[in-house]
Symmetry: C2
Subunit: 230 residues, 2 copies
């Protein structure tokens, strides 16, 4: 048996979704719903708050709660660490580190990571699934914030997974685009030059400091999926 507040939520949700309660309509006040369902105000309030949280109703003090006008498509995108993604597919994960360099941030590094004259660790690697090329990754790590990264052997644990597990972050931004495989990427992924590839870039912050930048170029055919989550 589902909890009462859930059952009430589903009941009201059904009335909205079926169109019985059209957009803009005022839904009964909490005290009316308590009478209808024979329960406390906290319980109906929780149900309506859940509907408000997922954007189905809008609550206004003094005025009541209203069926909300449908919204933009907001979806949550779960971008797994590539090693987790490959293991999730039941394939063997391996990382091939093509280049690893510690250097003072170049102009381009500064642009991506905004470190003023500090040291960065630059990695260039190839993710493999069951031995086949899966994605090319170019990563910069801000050594001023994560000096421990110097000592890590990333062929044991991928940079993404290691960072996720060791460095707390507060904000991340992603950019998803379609790019043509350049000669180098095409060679690594075994594609023809110019093949469209999905490219995911991510900037990760801890408060105001940038921790890492990564650009992952995926093999052809790879797609991201996002779900609207209630």
């Amino acid at each position: 048996m589902k909890p009462l507040n859930e059952r009430i939520r589903l009941d009201i949700e059904g009335r909205i979704m079926s169109g019985a309660w059209e957009a803009g309509r005022r839904i009964p006040a909490e005290h009316e719903l308590m009478a209808e369902y024979g329960c406390s105000r906290m319980t109906v309030s929780k149900a309506i708050s859940a509907l408000a949280a997922r954007g189905l109703v809008e609550r206004r003090k003094r005025a009541g709660s209203f069926v909300a006008a449908p919204r933009v498509h907001r979806a949550t995108l779960e971008i797994p660490d590539i090693s987790a993604e490959i293991e999730g597919l039941g394939q063997a994960y391996r990382l091939n580190i093509l280049e690893r360099a510690e250097r003072v941030a170049s102009a381009e590094d500064r642009d991506l990571l905004a470190v003023a004259g500090g040291a960065v660790l630059a990695l260039d690697c190839l993710h493999l699934a069951d031995g086949s090329p899966f994605a090319v990754e170019a990563r910069l790590i801000n050594l001023a914030i994560v000096p421990e990264a110097r000592e890590v052997d990333f062929s044991v644990e991928s940079p993404g997974r290691w960072l996720l597990g060791h460095v707390p972050w507060t904000d991340a931004r992603h950019r998803i685009s379609a790019v043509a495989a350049c000669g180098r990427v095409a060679g690594l992924l075994g594609l023809a030059v110019g093949t469209p590839c999905l490219c995911v870039e991510r900037w990760t912050w801890r408060t105001a400091e940038r921790i890492t930048y990564v650009r992952q170029t995926h093999a052809a055919g790879h797609a991201l999926t996002a779900r609207f989550v209630a």
Copy 2:
């Protein structure tokens, strides 16, 4: 002044984000937190539940609440209706409907929309921003669920915007991929054949029924951005 439960949530969130409470660590039981913050159990419970809802902690009865191990980057992606997106850029929006057909669902339509032998409205259009091609859209609308769509002039209001405003939906799934512009798309968007384009597909449900399917192929250079939202 923020509500007490919010302040408690932010406080605990800070301890987790700063790394003071590392992944896997048990956080104090509710009765301990009530003592620490000098408030009722309901209030700390609400704070922790909010953290659990956004995946920062995991709650287990009898055992306690634990700092969750971050596994994925979870970001919210706002996918605006294209007309809204173009207007948001301060450009003039226009829609060019290339083809509009009402038909019994073909095998391919059924695959995308899962309508068994029902009627669908198929649209093929070009979105223009300040007169320049912006995206090509192929859409299927399930007429069994949205028969009113038959009467709508979509050159006045884009199909996406009209559907958002008129048809309640409960679930949507997106697929984002990189595709090569085929001859037709290349011609419409003014690109060379084979140019990488970002392709967004969306399936929209109302409970178990599929409402619409859309595939939008964007002009080169278009990217999606997503933010992790706390």
